[in-house]
Amino acid sequence: MDLSSIDLRAIGAWFHGLLISSGMSQTGIHVIEALVGALLLLIFGLTLVIFLIWLERKLAGRIQDRLGPNRVGPYGLLQTVADALKLLTKEDVTPLDADRVPYNLAPGLAVFHVIMALAVIPFSNRVIGADINVGVLYLMAVGAIGSMAALMAGWASNNKYALIGGFRVVAQLLSYEIPLVLAMIIPVMVSGTMRMNGLAVAQGSIFGFGWFVWTLPLAFLIFFVASLAEGERAPFDLLEAESEIVAGYNIEYSGMKFAWFFLAFFMNSWVLAAIGTTIFFGGWQGPFVDQLPALGVIYFLGKTMILFFVQAWVRATFPRLRIDQMMSFCWKFLVPMALVLFAAVAIILKLNLPQPLEAITLLVANVAILLTGVTLLGRTQRKALYAPKRAFTPTIPRL
């Protein structure tokens, strides 16, 4: 069999031809194609989440010297399916004091925002829902809907824990959106496009040397840390904080509505990993991808899985931050570093250096800024540590 004939484009072209031959109007064809594309993305997302939940539980289990799910199906693979079926049949308790309409709307919006994000993710050169001009900004816009959903859930549950959780979500998601976005602007500046696929194409030189993670490692680090916070993951999971506020904004939700928040959480993590892959790890780029476009999908999913694995690893390993630490880490460390990096990259790119020299200068600047930042952070922290202790006043972090 000729492997190079496996081209996902061919399937699309075949389907397009089929629709034309059925004698439909132009608008009708567009509508049906959009419908099929949207359904494919939805099905992909749901199947993916079933796998991701299993993967994360298994990984956390192994990392913490447990077995993880191992009863239902081979290696416990069907555990999530069983859980989903169970949640489908569970009673749905709505607290009497809840603000009904926003309460019921919130889980739907949470799912809505993660599924919408799938639309601009380039799985391969041509396998992308919609390669729009404003791809990166679109993801930001979709994320804004997510924090709105959390705020609605927190408010409408009429529960103190939920409200505190909702507030923490918004404080955290809003704060970490700034370093996340600033870190995403830098690759946009280097490649000169906001299209998600354009960003992947721009990193296309051989054997991964063109990936932005090599020339802009600091931008990737800022992005990754901020994406942990945006994904509500440990060490930034204080908006769920089981031991303090029980479960955060989704405490009053049960049955399928809780399942939607759960699904949104896992899919959001994956989407953030996918964005990281696209922007910093060359997306679908890899060896022989020009000869065999279908390989791109495999590369893309593989790289995304590795990033997702690192996220899960961090989650299973690190303890939770306190809210004041979380906020100062963002505003006093990540944001200033991102701003300095932005300025440095802008200036270096305008020096018009020849190619290998430019990449090396970028790398050196990144490392230098990172080292300076870490040194300053270490110095101030040490100063705070050895500062003369005042009389003991219990510092209960206020809500």
Binding site: P102, I132, N133, M140, A144, M148, V170
Partner: protein, 164 residues
């Protein structure tokens, strides 16, 4: 054809949400209706092929401004939970002001020469916006940064006053 249908549906949706914003008794609900209005306007921008405006609308208005409004509602104790009346003592002035604004807007709209021909939207609008920020419109661009700085300083001053 399809575009017109979507436009009409979205316009009705936006107007309905706007109506909800001003008539909702619960302030939190009013804020959520406002979010719906913003979303509707964003879709209208997409129909005009102004993608950058559409995403800015969502990012800035839904992501930032609406959140700020909800925070403000939650900060002011007197406004929360209770059903606020739609009428108060100032209704007469408010009605007068709104009527005046409506007249001004209506007059402006009747004077504006609306394009009846659809011009093709250039494909690289974002690049054009970007280069005009630092080109033709550099003064407003820099003034915007000063404005943002002033807003930041003002916010900090106000918040400090609350603490002290």
């Amino acid at each position: 054809m399809l575009q017109q249908v979507i436009f009409i549906l979205m316009a009705i949706f936006t107007l309905g949400m706007a109506l909800g914003t001003v008539t909702a008794r619960n302030l939190f609900h009013a804020a959520l209706f406002l979010v719906g209005t913003f979303a509707g306007v964003a879709v209208l921008y997409v129909l005009l092929e102004a993608e950058f405006l559409a995403v800015s609308q969502v990012v800035v208005y839904i992501g930032a401004i609406a959140t700020l409004i909800i925070f403000a509602i939650m900060l002011s104790r007197s406004m929360m939970g209770k059903e606020a009346g739609a009428m108060n003592k100032q209704w007469l002035f408010a009605a007068g002001g709104s009527a005046l604004l409506f007249i001004v807007l209506a007059m402006l709209l009747s004077k504006v020469p609306f394009a009846t021909q659809v011009a093709p939207v250039p494909p690289d609008t974002i690049e054009q916006i970007g280069s005009s920020f630092v080109g033709v419109y550099v003064i407003p661009f820099e003034v915007a940064s000063v404005l943002l700085l002033v807003a930041l300083i003002g916010a900090i001053m106000l918040a400090r006053e609350r603490h002290g």
